[in-house]
Symmetry: C2
Subunit: 221 residues, 2 copies
């Protein structure tokens, strides 16, 4: 491996981690926006999404440049392909933060309902999964990546609980159906967010072990 | 370009189109399963998903092999990276067919409700988008790919209509809340399916024009 190539790899790692940090921040903002019914904060998530889009494009262009210039093989090739795919998942996590923000904007226009659901727990788990999957990428840590895949089941469990709780709340309080549907959608966006973190973790395992875990450990999504 | 490399490119095109054909068939099955409330057909979609997963892995491995062996640059490099990403979207469309199938299995266990919604229209549009995006890939047709991106707005419009219709139906028929929630979820899965077809079309445009449309024409998702 030439020194120049090594430098490029370090650069691309830094770039994907910078994007990861921004995406983590947006997820944190989305969690706070739900907790605090904060439409202003939600609006900022929506407005700033273009930054994530731009960073995604920069990372991909950089990967293509490295592939064309250095024509890496074996582990380095697999790493760059993994970065391209992880980059894509990070951008879509940003989209989920936007989707959540849009639901929050809707909800804050309504009177608050008397409904307690552990969105915070769900959002925190998704956040932890994202952080762990990025750490697994930096440290090439298969065990940590595997833990992310297992945590995905927890999020799915909470999603099912949310579904049942929301259905009950709808039956008891039919005047606020729109509100509850939007809560349900938030739980689905959080689930998808966790799915993307799982995709990242699976990419890390796949890259390191060259093994196919993508369609084994977690379900269909 | 060597003859051997040219042959490999033709092979990878065939592979991605075979996967596309299988995925199209699953979307068709999902549409029929909704229309006919067919749990047996839905079950087959769920059972056969592993085939799509295996095909996805084969396509990616083949791309990596070509990248390592032939070290392509410029347009060929961009094509192979596009195939890797499109491959990923196709697998996720398969996942959406599975998600729809799971909702159909739930729904068929309940008494049918008196509710008419144009799922067929929504599913048909998503199906057309998928077909067009794959045709755009084979024929390198930017105009066709652009049409897919525009159609995505139609699907989003139907989604909003579905949301309102379902909310009204829930208010009038609160005994069947679970049923309606599952109808809502089907409309969301169809929306995501259309999103993935849009991603494919955007990849095609990006590949051909080297231009960034991914974050311009369609919304955040």
């Amino acid at each position: 491996m030439t020194r120049h190539f090594q430098k490029e790899l370090i650069k691309i790692k830094k770039m994907i981690l910078s994007l990861g940090a921004v995406v983590e921040e947006r997820v944190q903002m989305a969690k706070t926006a739900i907790d605090d019914r904060d439409a202003e904060l939600a609006g900022r998530i929506i407005q700033q999404d273009f930054e994530i889009d731009e960073m995604e494009i920069e990372v991909e262009e950089e990967c293509l440049k490295i592939l064309a210039l250095h024509q890496p093989v074996a582990v380095d090739l697999r790493f760059l392909i993994a970065v391209i795919k992880i980059n894509n998942d990070l951008e879509r996590i940003g989209d989920q933060a936007v989707n959540i923000a849009e639901r929050v904007v809707f909800i804050t226009k309504q009177e608050p309902v008397d409904f307690v659901f552990e969105y915070t727990t769900m959002a925190e788990k998704a956040q932890v999964m994202l952080k762990m999957s990025l750490d697994a990428l930096v440290n090439m840590d298969v065990d940590l990546a595997l833990k992310v895949c297992l945590l995905d089941d927890d999020v799915d469990d909470i999603k099912v609980i949310a579904y049942n709780k929301i259905k009950d709340a709808m039956a008891k309080d039919p005047d606020n159906l729109g509100y509850y549907i939007n809560l349900l959608l938030i739980s689905r966006h959080l689930e998808r967010l966790a799915d993307h973190a799982t995709n990242i973790a699976e990419e890390v395992i796949y890259m390191i072990e060259g093994e196919i875990v993508r369609h084994g450990i977690t379900g269909s999504d």
